[in-house]
């Protein structure tokens, strides 16, 4: 479990729950990717906070769509 703090909330990623549906990659391709096993990875962008900045809306949308609950957004 890994948390990344943002200005308006926090993206929480639990890879144990991931089923590799890939919706996050389609919704926020600048932030999420899949590893070779198909599980979610958060792209490192020079230490930038994925839950903040220009991608916040897309990240929140990805957490809403994530079917497995692997991605959640904590206010």
């Amino acid at each position: 479990m890994r948390g990344v703090s943002g200005h308006v909330g926090q993206l929480v990623v639990d890879r144990d729950l991931c089923i590799g549906a890939g919706l996050c990659v389609l919704t926020a391709p600048d932030v999420f990717d899949q590893d070779d096993d198909g599980l979610v990875v958060v792209l490192a962008r020079d230490g930038a906070d994925p839950g903040a900045g220009p991608h916040t809306d897309a990240v929140r949308e990805a957490t809403r769509r994530c079917p497995s609950g692997a991605l959640t957004w904590q206010e």
């Binding site: 089923i19 590799g20 549906a21 919706l23 899949q34 070779d36 198909g38 079917p67």
Partner: protein, 400 residues
């Protein structure tokens, strides 16, 4: 041979794009009491929030239907051995941790990146079928010439199933989804289809074999039983061609019925992605998700549901939830992919990235090759599937 029971209202899809099930939102707070074809009482859940809740909670809403209930649903006394065979390798009848074990083996084959690598081959298959349509000249049955063969060939190549066998597996898939048949006949089609995949697994164990089946046998042949491998292959084969084929067939009909939407898809490549999502939402071809059974008493919305009861998530109704803006309007510029056409939760469609890729390539290619595509001027150019687990068209005669 047992007679097919009368089809309950929530399973009938008599309209091209509409059905009674889609209009069930307001019955008892969106949770309607229904009776399955064999007389089992069930709860039909139709509101978006409730459907999401059911599908997201595998602990309270289980995919593992206990033997007595499974027997009643199928209308025949199942033995524990029969039930085990039905379930082996079938991800849709498993909960964690069994489901997790199987799903983890398969996710690497369906990543967004893997699908992008398949893109050129899928485009080639689409082009080849459009060429053949053009050569044969109008009128053409779009289902037979394009909507069915494209996803069938794609899944055959991906899975490692000989395309020459398509006559048999397409017929079996059709039968096992056909709600006008007696449940016993449908389950026999399922078993026959499984048995066919079993023969492929046997061959893959003794000779070099292509595709996912070959990879699974090589890499996991010791961890997975023959029946599990056959069950996995069977599920991927059926789900891999029936769903996309009906999206392409019914989706084309939807665009032909909405010419202004058709023009947007045909003339604006940047709109295709959103258009595919909207077609998935609006058509809602899979009427109910795989049945769930409550493992404990639950309260859903304002409805109390005891333990051990059957819960059916009505996906097309949830996709047209009255709280959504203009839910009944097909608007390909809507751009939301928050629909439930691929389900939700742990069982969210494994092949969704593949289905999306196929549709994103197939719709615009078809519409650009034949800019004047229209229904053929013959009697009954559209034949609907009114009684199938997967809604769509049986035939769609088009001209250009």
């Amino acid at each position: 041979m047992t007679e097919a029971p009368a089809l309950p209202w929530y399973l009938r899809r008599e309209g091209e794009f509409d059905s009674a099930a889609l209009r069930a939102h307001d019955q008892d707070g969106g949770i309607a009491r229904v009776t399955t074809p064999n007389g089992v009482e069930a709860w039909l859940v139709t509101r978006l929030a409730d459907v999401r809740e059911v599908l997201a909670d595998a602990h309270r809403f289980s995919n593992v239907i206990p033997l007595p209930l499974a027997s009643r649903i199928q209308g025949q006394e199942l033995t524990p051995a029969q039930l085990r065979l039905n379930r082996a390798g079938n991800l849709l009848s498993a909960d964690p941790p069994d489901h997790t074990r199987l799903r983890r083996l398969l996710t690497p084959f369906f990543t967004v990146r893997r699908m992008r690598r398949l893109e050129p081959r899928i485009a080639e298959i689409v082009t080849a079928h459009l060429d053949a349509m053009e050569r044969s000249g109008p009128p053409v049955d779009l289902v037979e010439a394009f909507a069915l063969p494209v996803p069938s060939l794609v899944i055959c190549e991906l899975l490692g199933v000989p395309y020459d066998d398509r006559g048999d597996f397409q017929r079996l898939a059709n039968r096992l989804l056909d709600l006008s048949l007696a449940p016993r006949e449908r389950s026999q089609a399922f078993l026959d289809s499984r048995a066919y995949l079993g023969t492929l697994v046997d061959r893959a164990r003794v000779e070099p074999w292509p595709g996912i089946l070959g990879d699974l046998v090589r890499e996991h042949g010791d961890d997975l039983s023959r029946e599990e491998l056959a069950g996995i292959g069977n599920l991927l084969l059926i789900a891999g061609h029936e769903t996309t084929a009906n999206m392409l067939g019914l989706g084309t009909l939807a665009l032909l019925r909405h010419p202004e939407q058709l023009r947007l898809v045909r003339d604006h490549p940047e709109r295709v992605e959103a258009a595919v999502e909207e077609l998935l939402r609006w058509l809602g071809i899979v009427t109910t998700a795989f049945s769930r059974v409550t493992t404990e008493p639950v309260v859903l919305g304002e409805q109390s549901i005891p333990a051990g009861e059957l819960v059916l998530a009505c996906l097309p109704a949830a996709n047209r939830d009255p709280d959504l803006p203009h839910p009944d309007v097909l608007d390909v510029t809507r751009g939301a992919i928050g629909h439930l056409a691929f389900g939700h939760g742990l069982h969210h469609c494994l092949g969704a990235p593949l289905a999306r890729m196929e549709m994103r390539l197939a719709f615009p290619a078809l519409l650009r090759r034949f800019p004047d595509l229209h229904l053929a001027e013959t009697e009954a150019p559209v034949v609907l599937r009114t009684a199938s687990v997967v809604h769509g068209v049986t035939s769609l005669l088009v001209a250009w």
